[in-house]
Symmetry: C2
Subunit: 528 residues, 2 copies
């Protein structure tokens, strides 16, 4: 089957999302990742709208991309002037991008109400602008804004706008569901109609306001569309744009269409994570294909079946997108889950062993108190070790004190911790400052222990999450702290729960350090 071209607009439409803003350097880094993943076009921004986007097009020229083409976004010319006098069109040419994408009005209502010009004049705007760009840019795309709403309002006029773009020589005409409310059956029928009138290759740009953006894109390809616009993780204004992380595997695995290589698709989960990271957003664990839970199994029935035949409960192999099957530990869990988890940690556990049942009981009681081991698998491993008696106590904390002090209204407070630890009969009593009480405590604890365990110097605290658990869920209102730590080799998560955030943080910090010490010991003397 013929190639479907992927057009990413994470850097332009994606940044319209409520919680997303990228620095120019972030955009350059993301562009490299998109290029490596085989995305054909990268829309870098709207140079006519802000200086940050102008800077992107200047900087990206210095970068070496392996295959992706850079597109600059803009609109049709303003009324009453010629294209070469239009500031917005000139900025597109000046961007020296590989392609220009401009949007124009399809919907008669918008022509009357937003542009306030006659319908005929709008056709001239579209034609002139594209003709001008076609002479000055290697490739030119036309985004037919509000195409589906416009078609429903006035089909003849909507088609006329596309014909103007075709006549001007647009390389691809993209049908946009700008307001995102079109239903899949409407998309199918309208694309079918368009094909009767337009010979230029067609594209789709869907928004997710009806929770149908991915389906609408897939259906369009099924109807003969060859260019799909979307964003990584579906970032975008309101409910987001069509999610390329879901469209790509659908195209390749389900529809057997060519778009990126198998090897590139294996990096999809990494790409998704990378973009979340730079956007400073927590990944959506339930995200299709690439999310942490996408191939996670909780119910006991599923788990035992999954282990025999993954295809019974998985719609595709997670490895294809760089994801993996996960087995969850929770109050719905049976012995099969505990055993699978133990195997993951190289711990020998017998299903008939009373210890297995003991761990299950421990987990249930801890979950009732607000613990959650998903995302805190290091704490879970320590819990298993304690039940099995293979846990080693590397140190004990005799006591600590943390003081935060603010002297005047405008000064930053100072946080200071003192701590007393005991390792093999020796007592260490020390103090440290920090950015806040938990950081001060972490610094003091590690300072005290590094004397005995110098490898702790490699440990870094990567993420710290605090969650207030409402009263009624479990016994009392309590606080759960999740900490992600890492060293050169990897990262691990630990959890602590208490009515006091300092105590909860302390538990998670101690687990993080104990996990590191166990890990190093096991690496030094691996099990048979």
């Amino acid at each position: 089957m013929s190639l479907v071209k992927l057009y990413d607009t994470t850097l332009r439409d994606g940044t319209q999302a409520e919680d997303i803003s990228f620095l120019v350097e972030d955009k350059i880094r993301i562009a490299h990742k998109l290029d490596e993943c085989g995305i054909h076009y990268i829309e870098g921004g709207w140079p006519g709208s802000n200086p940050k986007d102008v800077a992107f097009f200047k900087d990206i020229k210095k970068e070496k991309l392996s295959q992706a083409k850079i597109a600059a976004f803009g609109s049709t010319r303003r009324a009453k002037i010629t294209p070469d006098k239009d500031q917005n069109l000139r900025t597109l040419v000046d961007s020296k991008a590989d392609a220009a994408t401009i949007f124009g009005k399809t919907w008669d209502f918008h022509v009357h109400e937003a542009l306030r010009i006659p319908l005929e004049e709008n056709l001239e705007l579209i034609f002139d602008s594209l003709e001008f760009l076609k002479k000055n840019m290697p490739e030119v795309f036309y985004d037919a804004e509000h195409f589906f709403d416009g078609y429903k309002s006035n089909p003849e006029y909507a088609i006329k706008t596309l014909q103007a773009a075709q006549q001007a020589g647009a390389d691809c005409i993209i049908l946009c569901d700008t307001n995102g409310g079109s239903m899949p059956y409407e998309i199918a029928a309208i694309v079918d109609e368009v094909k009767k009138h337009i010979k230029t290759p067609l594209g789709i740009h869907a928004h997710n306001d009806g929770e149908c953006a991915v389906a609408n894109s897939i259906i369009s390809v099924q109807q003969g569309i060859v260019h799909v616009q979307g964003t990584i993780n579906g970032f975008g204004e309101r409910c987001g744009n069509a999610n390329l992380c879901s469209i790509i595997p659908a195209l390749k695995v389900k529809m057997k269409r060519d778009c990126i290589s198998d090897a590139q698709m294996k990096t999809l989960r990494d790409l998704s994570r990378y973009v979340y990271e730079l956007a400073n957003l927590a990944p959506n664990k339930h995200q299709p294909y690439v999310g942490n839970s996408a191939f996670a199994h909780k119910g006991g029935v599923h788990v035992s079946a999954i282990q025999r035949h993954p295809e019974t409960y998985e719609h595709m192999r997670p490895e294809l997108v760089g994801n993996t099957t996960r087995v969850l530990v929770s109050d719905l869990s049976g012995r099969a889950n505990i055993l699978a988890k133990a195997t993951e940690f190289n711990i020998n556990l017998d299903s008939k062993d009373p210890v297995t049942l003991e761990i299950l009981e421990d987990i249930k009681s801890m979950e009732n108190r607000g613990y959650q081991f998903e995302g805190a698998e290091a704490s879970f491993e320590l819990l298993m070790k304690r039940a099995l008696g293979t846990h080693r106590k590397f140190f004990s904390v005799i006591g600590f004190r943390v003081i935060d002090e603010k002297r005047t209204e405008d000064d930053q407070p100072i946080s200071e911790a003192t701590i007393k630890v005991k390792v093999g009969g020796k007592v260490e009593h020390t103090a440290s400052e920090g950015h806040g009480p938990v950081n001060a405590l972490d610094n003091a604890l590690r300072k005290a222990l590094e004397k005995f365990y110098p490898k702790l110097k490699d440990v870094k605290l990567h993420d710290y999450k605090v969650r207030v658990l409402p009263a009624g869920q479990g016994t009392a209102s309590s606080i759960r702290v999740l900490i992600e730590s890492g060293d050169k080799e990897g990262r691990w998560g630990t959890v602590g729960v208490s009515s006091n955030v300092i105590e909860a943080s302390y538990q998670a910090l101690v687990d993080a350090i104990e996990f590191k010490l166990h890990k190093d010991e096991e690496t030094a003397a691996p099990k048979k």
Copy 2:
């Protein structure tokens, strides 16, 4: 057009999600909300699988629902025994629910590999089980597990399993996309085929592994299906179930199908929030129809157009589902956004006023330092008041100290705060304990101020969120604290940012109190 019946499985399939677990009381409360919203069937659980679910069916009998029917979930009988001897089927009857829903195998592969019985025997399991339930329960539904995968593997056999259910008298046969990977065009074609063989009313149960669950449900209705299963907010295992919060407005507004009343649909956003609240999860702000961002506008072009004609950039009126249009403040914002926001807060702001530009500059600089006013609109209002000179300083904090102390390894630490405040020339110096340093500081601050402002006794801290902002985004690695406070009349959000969590929390606490004092003053003497 004929009625589409809605079947909610939030309380059963929804709880299979990685992060969701409900107490029996939560389930009862959610059942009431679903009933009020007009959902026709509420699947309460699988009584044969755990005692918590047995308790639900017992307790719900004591409740008075206005219209919803309660369904109990289970599976077909085990091989080699008669239905009346099957423990699982008997539990369904014993549940005294209004309806029973059982799942059976459609996919030949599963019959061979999971049940390990001949294909013919599986048909007997389906027939016997449904026939038995039909005699003992008011209504009986058949969930054809893995229907679409089964149909693709062996269409003749898949249809035979449905025919067995039809012959046994099932009131509705539900086609399940259990693994969630079916594409919308497959669903359409297969439902069409099924209708040629089956006269019993058909239902759909879609999962979201391909990000198509809502579209697949909509397409099924378009093809003649009259019963839709899903969950509130799309909760469910892996990538979730079909989201009823998106399906309901699609059915009513887009497809003009009857399901719940207009008045009931206006409570959809509340229902969505309520279920998030009891599940102890943060709402997805980008959620279609009901999310905070679903009708939020950021780009300056959109905002001015929205104010003239909402239909230009909104696919439907947000009020229909109890949502509202929102205008966002961000680094993409123009004056129009600031002005719209000011109007929301009843502040007179002139677009030519240099103050408007000053606020814009302040916001940009604060956003660079990591502030975010989305979700902290009380802090934003105070910021505007400060720029306009209408902000009143109700108190000043001269200094504070917070001490957390842990004396032994097993003791909980004690947190104590001392604070000195000044109100109108009078100094108050006091102390308080708390569950952790922030709580102690909050208690001490309020204790000191309540003496001067007794109404602060009404203020409660509802939510406290901490986010570590990675270095590189803004100047240095910093911490953002978002606090949600409330009194009898409403709730408000405030924000603080600092490299020290105590300072960030302090800023947000002070804003929360200042907002309350301003609010009370304005209520007492409203503006003209």
